[in-house]
Symmetry: D2
């Protein structure tokens, strides 16, 4: 399988199937369509599937809401509730009385601030449990929340900060939130991915970091993310494919050129584009121009969904009150 980068399992699946026109062995896919949104569950079942799709064994659920960029309050609430159900489905066999929520990403970069903004808005309760010297409560979970920043801000690996806190707080469960990249602009700020395999901070941009997962932290890690940017090389690649595709049908010479490019593996073409784009790359992103406003909205939807899922005594009408 080629290695065009994407943070979304659903896109890894799509890439494979575009190339191979077959089902993926060791991977199951289930899609539920609703009026305003769809839910796709990709399960990587075994090592074979894992090696084909390039992702750890586990469950990857994607909620797609095409109109989320322009949603009214009803649709936002619908998404918060759907998200809370999906989250609870992944948590159903896990202990979840003490939860630590971690907002990954760099708060100084608009498109990377999703995690920290959710942390600003999530309902934190652990200090009530400390103050009232209580172990648990039926109506609410014991929730702590923190944004560790990024290595360039703190000089400390995200993993080290999170591990230090996990050791002190000893949660049953860690939930990590991060901004992702997508291959397709239409998925940006309209798609939520939730997975039970943990997350490697900054992995989307080619850095090698220690992952946050059960093996490294000793507690189950649910991660959720929303694409906020498209990779620039991906955008050029996809646009060229469309253009050459249209030429192919029009001119003999286009057809020949197309077959020439076709002989290049996808990977070679992508590498060629990356090389050409090199002066653009690294720090360049392709993003909606009002991404900071979109992320404000999305962080409220996610925070509401977390509050609904974790605090069963608090309904949708009430969780909004905890949101600033």
């Amino acid at each position: 399988m080629k290695h065009i980068y994407t943070d979304l399992a659903i896109e890894s699946k799509e890439i494979y199937q575009e190339e191979n026109k077959t089902e993926i062995q060791g991977v199951s896919v289930d899609v539920v369509e609703e009026k305003n949104h769809s839910v796709t569950t990709v399960k990587v079942l075994n090592d074979k599937g894992s090696s084909i799709i390039g992702r750890p064994i586990g469950t990857y659920i994607t909620i797609e809401v095409p109109k989320l960029n322009n949603a009214n309050e009803d649709l936002k609430d619908e998404v918060s509730i759907e998200f809370s159900k999906v989250l609870l489905s992944l948590l159903k066999d896990l202990k979840k009385e003490k939860v630590l929520i971690i907002g990954l990403g760099n708060w100084n970069i608009s498109s990377d601030a999703l995690g920290p903004k959710v942390i600003d808005r999530v309902l934190v309760t652990r200090h009530f449990f400390i103050n009232y010297n209580k172990e648990s409560d039926e109506s609410m979970a014991n929730v702590a929340a923190m944004s560790p920043g990024v290595l360039g801000i703190t000089g400390i690996e995200t993993f080290d900060i999170v591990k230090g806190i996990v050791d002190k707080v000893q949660p049953d469960l860690l939930i990590a939130i991060d901004a992702l990249s997508s291959r397709k602009m239409e998925r940006v700020s309209t798609t939520i991915q939730i997975t039970d395999v943990g997350i490697t901070p900054g992995s989307g941009v080619g850095n090698h970091r220690v992952g946050l997962n059960k093996e490294t932290l000793g507690v189950p890690v649910i991660s959720l993310g929303i694409p906020t940017v498209v990779n620039a090389a991906t955008m050029v690649n996809d646009t060229m494919d469309l253009i050459i595709g249209s030429l192919k049908n029009e001119a003999e010479i286009g057809k020949e050129f197309y077959s020439l490019l076709d002989e290049l593996s996808e990977q070679d073409k992508y590498s060629l584009i990356e090389e050409v784009l090199n002066p653009y790359m690294g720090n360049v992103i392709v993003t909606p121009k009002d991404i900071n406003v979109l992320i404000d909205d999305l962080s409220i939807i996610i925070a509401n969904g977390l509050n609904i899922a974790l605090h069963p005594g608090i309904g949708i009408a009430d969780v909004n009150r905890y949101i600033r």
Copy 2:
């Protein structure tokens, strides 16, 4: 001349010369190279030049500082001083005792907030003149400053707000600041354009607005801008050109394809890309991911330069004190 959009006169000139391999009639170009920066003066001398280059008669000066994205304080001060000199050269025949500075753009969008951020940092003095009932002062100009927002925020045309204020304040001169778009990523946040022909807010994104200039406002308008984004279609177009160019030298078939594409006018190719990119376009920008941080830095450089130029009694060592 083809109509690939750019806010920079220096790029209009480059596009013309790439296509026509000749000097532009009615347009003079002068380049001064310094160690850390270059200054290019494009003068549109007559109607002929204006119609070829698609810009009003007037002077367009571009300061390019390739290392500005990663500048130390000395380089920043150098740029502030160079900018103040260029500005004063454009002002030398103009009355400039009472100046109104206008920061164009949408403060809610990171890449569009340059103007409002400069306004936050520029030294405003008009209220001192009012309080001390003074007409003028040798050491400082009488400066008012304002960010009018954008139509989508206020419901009011920028021109109407600015005209209303000009009528009350009656400045000798208006200086307008705006974020621009460039065709080349390497110009983003490294290039300052200063011109004496005024500016049309939002013109870069295809809207038709009333311009801010001497005809419409009754006072001379100097405008200055810094590119903060690259047009997505431009980026794809330029990348394709580079890729096809590299193929041209390598394969017979590439050469043929190249000549096919070459037969398409540049304009047709660009339109094709725009069409394909359509779902991406409109709200999508290509920008450095830390654009909000870069714009903070640039707004200090511009504000310092304005303070140096307008307040001769205040040196570089002191203007910094007015900066937050």
Copy 3:
């Protein structure tokens, strides 16, 4: 009447009555108590009342919501709706198809940013009317909105900016929003005053500015405000009164001292405190420490209330969608 400063007509009335133990001639007072809030309508009926209470002839309505600092969403919506009703009662004989909303105050000072924050959140529609070339619409008013800043930021008198915009936009009605000061901490961020007499920006801090009202602007001006600070001299004065009051009952000598202080007019005592406090004064405020968070909440409540009142086609469930 003594001149302890307050922005609230309800407090002017209280001060008069504390001193004089009588009704105020030429001023009517009406109080409606509800479960969670009360509404007090003070009408200054004639010149006699105006001179006694030190305020222009007109209607001053105060909504007091003691628990507003710690409100859930239901209470916030209740206040938005109550506020919209009170606003509409003041507007009932006024043309209100084209409305200009002005957010007074300095956005750089947490306690003074109420007006600008409401402007950030109010539903602006005037550009739709321009784009669709429409004069009016049954479901929504034609609303423009703007924050003019303060003299220290722009170098331009607030009145001049507002007058310039009124001349261009020609609204039927202007609504001005401002942060106020109160004599009592318990009113801070729990009280909304709405009045039809206009407003003088910065009047609360002793500056003399041109007012925003029908005489100066040519259109009716509704102003609304929420106290966000207590005057430091007021706080000391009130605390001393309470302490000396408690001493009065306890010790002979306290009684004598009290009568000595009592012989000082209230005004003299207040001046004495102001003099002593002088090094503290000017820039010092007494405010809740989380005033920036409180003002975020209050700006949503006010923006929602304005949207409900001005856009009859949009209900409470929907206006929230326009809020960021």
Copy 4:
């Protein structure tokens, strides 16, 4: 000694001496006056001094700069340099190759955000040492930096977060920064206290927390703070003292009242005021109204001073480049 609360050792000393008119046993005081600032070193030498002054044994150095609220760049640089010298004098016998800087306080509350704002601006270098696999460097220290938030934001005790990070990073030295309260408005935002005894987060507002110090963390802790608020009860108390003092000289009866109040211990009077002020207290602060702007300035001064002290290879002209 009475227990009027203050975060400043210099004020504890003043209170003692106002009451007792004697030197404090076991405490040495040294004052150096400069043109624009003074440096007062209070050393608590033994248990006797510690019990009198109510503070741990150690050194407390206070830099007072009366004009700091309105400083130009030269004065700001002077303060950064003086602060760096004082800091180095406290560090002279300590290992300081690996430093962890902690910004205490709540970033959502303007007057409490000093620590987090310094962290935003301090030069972090630890990741360079990691990337280049280097142990030490002559021109710069290995610096990590972090703002742990407060219990109400994270649900986690500040101590637990800091301890977790100290265990991972294993610094030679921890420097903690916090906003303080003062008894006197003139010290607010004009005074820096640096001490080698560590700090107890939130101690100023009556909470009991685990301190950050060598005993609890295993590394030396230098703490530095700047007063940003005055306690409301303190302000009333001090104002009353001044008023009654002025009455004392004027009227027989004032004199008698004064002696009555004088018979009340200072502590009783303070308690009385606190009781009367109770509805005001808790969340109410007395602060300069532009405290957020002042704290921006102060955080740059402190960050520059830290950079100068910790990175000997970087001079004053250059550290500014690291400041945003």
